[in-house]
Amino acid sequence: MSANVDIFERNVADQTEALRDATVGIAGCGGLGSNIAVSLVRAGIGRLILVDFDRVEPSNLNRQHFFLSDIGQLKVEALSRHLTAINPDVRIQSHPERLDADRTPVVFREADLLLEAFDRAESKKWLIEAWCVAYPDRPIICGNGLSGAGDTESLHVLKMGPITLCGDGRTDMTIGLSAPRVAIVAAMQANEAVAYFLRRHLARRTATEREREIR
């Protein structure tokens, strides 16, 4: 089935054009990754590269975008189905594999931007380093501190060069993970990605207009 209706009619000006040709990588399809992917597909992202080795478990359903009928399935496969049910035209490349630092630049070679959505801090660190060493000019947007409930006012965005960190910058998952707070941070990451592509689109358009003026 193809979307014969304009699902992006209510988008922000230029957003649909800015995202149509954009490719994002999502490392991890759990609490952050599944919610980021849903947000970006609704926003109009053209292409996604999804990586996760894991299968859906009952304990995932308290915060991840999966359903009881997905239990036992590969997360990348179940998520791809849910995403194409929102927009059948989205292009998805799925990698059901355990990522490492060496594979990161290979798997995400065609990504304009990477969204970090891992559980463990050790994995977040090597992912950020592998990405920034391989592609120093491409952004990476990470989740950093999203455990617990409430405390919405502590969630913020921090930028350090190509790295954007979203979260409270202090909580650890030993205190538990709650659907709304995980989804807020996922939405903050997706929002930063949309903003990046909008800025890129407007910069390219300005450059083209200048070229025309010069001619």
């Binding site: 952050l32 660190k125 990470c142 989740g143 350090m160 060069g161 909580t171 998952m173």
Partner: protein
């Protein structure tokens, strides 16, 4: 002088990333560091020298996703 996470810090000739982390008492294993918006990988902390007037950021990474 350099700035570390927005705070001024005295700069010394030959100061490495590891020296800065030691002086600040940042002993977390899971930290990411940028100098003037460029990421410095973990295995380069001992050899990378921080230039005077640099803008350094060093942030702790947390579990959860």
């Amino acid at each position: 002088m350099i700035r570390v996470n927005g705070e001024w810090m005295e700069w010394t000739e030959g100061m490495t990333v590891q020296d800065m982390l030691n002086r600040k008492g940042y002993d977390f294993a899971l930290i990411i560091v940028t100098i003037d918006d460029r990421l410095i990988p973990d295995d380069e902390y001992d050899e990378t020298r921080i230039p005077d007037h640099a803008d350094v950021k060093a942030l702790h990474i947390h579990h959860g996703g």
